[in-house]
Amino acid sequence: MVETFTPAVCGSRRRQRLALAGFAVGAVAASALVGAALGAVGAVLGTQLAFLVAALALLAAAREAGIVRVPLPQLRRQVPERWRSELPLPVWSVGYGIGLGLGFLTFQPVATFWVACAAAVALGKPLAAGLCFAAYGAGRALMAAWPRYGQPDPTAAVEGLARRRRFLLLGNVVALLVCAGLLAAAPTAGAAIQTQALGAGLDPAATWTVVGRARMNSGSSTVLLEPRDGTPIAIAGAAAPAVDGGLLAYDDAQGVKVINWRTGELVASVGGQVAKPALDWPLLAFVRTDSTYKRLVVADFTDPASPVERVIVRISAGNDLGRPSLAAGRIAWHKLTATSSTIFAQRLATGRRSVIARSSVFVLANPSITSTRIVWVRQSSRSSILRLRRWASPAVRGIYRTTGSTRLLWTTALTGRTAYVTRWSLRTGASTLVRVNF
């Protein structure tokens, strides 16, 4: 390529530098655009592709090692020779850079480019994928510039590289194997966060085997339970589901009920102005409201005939307690007032309470917990973020973010390494359930 910019005994060093610069700009910009576009496609797809890409990388490594014969999609073309005689130097050098930077308009000697494309889709992040692919363009530019520097004869440099082709191909095989290993480990290492919209609904509830949600229809709520291995179950007039194994808690016009969702048998109930249940059987938590206070109550149904209630916290009726979460001997809730918002967690056995997060600026709300982690929503005027923390570490990270008032985050659920969150629009009230695998 460098001989194309300045053929022997023709053209100055300045011309060559100008052409190389144009080539580099074109190559980097084009490859970054390809990466960003692939990342955008991946963001739209929103499915877990890391394992698929790992398999592709393995297949590519086998191809490069000569174990399998797999044809590569490619255009067996070179950059148009006549451009450099018909177009101005800045135009054709940038054009050559774009042609090679795009990657799929010329020869593909190895499969690595296509594995990188699949990885960009799996990444699902346009900016990160664009930056990674920009490195590909930079590499193309480097290969155009490198033979000229430190070498009296650029063609000798290229021929020297060609003589080492066997080692380069071996290095490529090793790199593909390493990529395959990293991609296979990525989901379990938490490197990849995958999100997926699950359709209309709010107030998620989840275990390993069942996902529950509420759905609003003309002002009335229905609870929908979707077992992994069964038919969905709908309970009309119910709201705010909470699940624990085969039991479902919800609130309705009479209060809070706990049923066996497989058989429909009523297991427990609490009457009155109670709502927002959380379930870790035989413990049932709910919010009891009167004209003066809101109380977070935990009822112990070890003896179903005479449950024992304990008030965890009491706040003024004008403030908000939100939807509590119960798991592994802990309860978590939020407290929203006109001056601050706080996420609390309390060990039920000892009564020891801790502040997980507090803010006088943001709205912190709707925590969900497991034995190892807690998630909650942090909302500002510009964005909503689903925040995650392990009990064993104070470090907090965001695992899902939305912006604007048409994509706000609301109630949450958590099971294992999967979080669920309600995403809704302030303008229309419509809500969608989103699953976040982290």
Binding site: L75, P80, E86, G322, A338, S360, V361, G429
Partner: protein, 199 residues
């Protein structure tokens, strides 16, 4: 359907034909250079505008360089106590930028309470002072509303207010000024209050 490389090649051929017909190499480079200069030079020109030459550096009445305090809607309009107001009409808003009633509950423009996806009225969100609470939480500073000055803006008297702290760095990231702060404090960011009094 033409292949991608044929499409690109065709476009380049058309471009080369047009260029050969209408431009010399020198004139083409001249135009390209002009375009590049406009892109880079424009930013340099904007940065060189001195505050005194601008009627309002970034908000009316503020002729210095300290940035605005963070606020729900970008513009740091406050009431007498330092709580956020909607910049356009001065109505009280909460920290999420929602209009609120006297009790602090979010309302729509007609005064009806906003509801959530479950159809229930939304709970209150915090509504706190931009200087004393926001700066303290986001920057870890003990900040206080101190000095102020007055300007006529939009035919009414605007009071521009310094949010002051001990920090030697202001919200812009560079060295803070004393401004109208006292007691060893320096200006961290600015806010404003529109009095409604005619001028």
């Amino acid at each position: 359907m033409r292949r991608p490389d044929e499409l690109v090649d065709g476009a380049a051929h058309a471009l080369s034909t047009r260029l050969a017909g209408g431009l010399t190499r020198r004139s083409f480079l001249g135009r390209m250079g002009g375009a590049v200069l406009a892109l880079t030079g424009g930013a340099a020109v904007a940065a060189a505008v001195r505050p005194e030459q601008s009627e309002a550096f970034h908000l009316c009445g503020h002729i210095w360089t300290t940035g605005s305090c963070p606020s729900p809607m970008g513009w740091p309009r406050i009431d007498r106590q330092g709580y956020p107001l909607r910049p356009g009409d001065g109505r009280p808003i909460d920290n999420l930028g929602r209009l609120v009633n006297a009790e602090g509950f979010a309302i729509d423009s007609a005064g009806e309470r906003l509801v959530g996806p479950d159809g229930e009225p939304l709970p209150r969100a915090p509504r706190t002072r931009l200087c004393e609470e926001w700066i303290k939480e986001r920057y870890g500073l003990n900040s206080h509303t101190q000095g102020s000055w007055y300007r006529c803006c939009g035919n009414q008297i605007r009071k521009l207010v310094d949010c002051c702290s001990r920090s030697t760095r202001r919200i812009n990231g560079d060295a803070s000024l004393v401004g109208y702060c006292w007691n060893g404090n320096r200006v961290f960011c600015v806010m404003y209050y529109d009095s409604g009094l005619s001028c």
